[in-house]
């Protein structure tokens, strides 16, 4: 579960976000790096920062969600230091 506690609040943190499949090919890496984030921060803020930092992904973010510690989270969930964050978009099983 994602903590809503204000503890671990830190400025200027770097957050890494795992990325897969077609989105990873678009940016040429399987790990996005967002610099100078103030943690904790909401999932929708992280998505917004991804769009700003990686414009190649902007078109696919409307069909993407974030997973934190391997669980889908909603837009207002808080992301803390040490969380494993993944961008789940353009999925296509089967």
């Amino acid at each position: 579960m994602v903590s809503t506690s204000p503890v671990n609040q830190q400025s200027n943190m770097e957050l890494q976000v795992l990325v897969f499949g077609p989105q990873a090919r678009m940016v040429g890496t399987d790990r996005l790096t967002l610099k100078e984030l103030r943690l904790p921060t909401a999932a929708n803020e992280v998505l917004s920062r991804i769009g700003g930092t990686y414009p190649e992904l902007a078109g696919s973010l409307s069909v993407s969600r974030l997973a934190v510690n391997q669980e889908f989270v909603d837009a207002t969930a808080l992301i803390n230091t040490g969380d494993e964050v993944a961008l789940i978009g353009l999925i296509s099983g089967g």
Binding site: L18, F20, G21, P22, R25, A67, Q70, E71, F72, A86, I88, L90, I91, S92, G93, G94
Partner: protein, 145 residues
């Protein structure tokens, strides 16, 4: 590992490469022996030799590279199986999905379902696949010719 729940058996496996053996899971024999299932359906998904691009062109491919995000992929497949088994009254579900490279014509996905009557299993298969494509972290990237 099989995961038992009251009246529903769910098993999920991720397979490295193509699924070469289309073997019935052991629960098929069990449910048939118990005479509780009147229908056992198997859906097998195979890789086509072409992909439609974003600009609507058909492009020939050698196969598909599948990526998964474990353990989340297995967890979401299990959750989806349970939710839809309860919704449709399905007795048992067995899911196999590939990761890694699967060439044209090879099998990358097998879904086997047992239910009392065929309607539940048919509805389950259609709905499960539709929801899997929206919610389960599995990606495919075409390997071009």
């Amino acid at each position: 590992m099989p995961i038992d729940a009251p009246e529903t058996q769910v098993r999920v496996r991720l397979i490295d490469g193509p699924i070469s053996e289309l073997r019935s899971p052991t629960w098929v024999a069990d449910v048939i022996a118990a005479a509780s299932a009147g229908a056992v359906l198997t859906f097998a998904g195979h890789v086509r030799d072409s992909e439609v691009t974003e600009d609507n062109h058909t492009q020939p491919i050698l196969g598909l590279e599948y990526e998964v995000y474990e353990p989340m992929t297995s967890q979401e497949l299990t959750l989806l199986s349970r939710q839809h088994a309860i919704k449709h009254g399905v007795l048992a579900v067995d899911v196999q999905h590939s990761f890694g490279f699967v060439a044209n014509g090879e099998c990358s996905f097998v879904l086997q379902v047992a239910s009392a009557h065929r309607e539940e299993a048919i509805r389950f298969i259609d709905e499960f696949i539709r929801e899997m494509k929206k919610h389960v972290p599995i990606w495919k990237v075409p390997r071009l010719k």
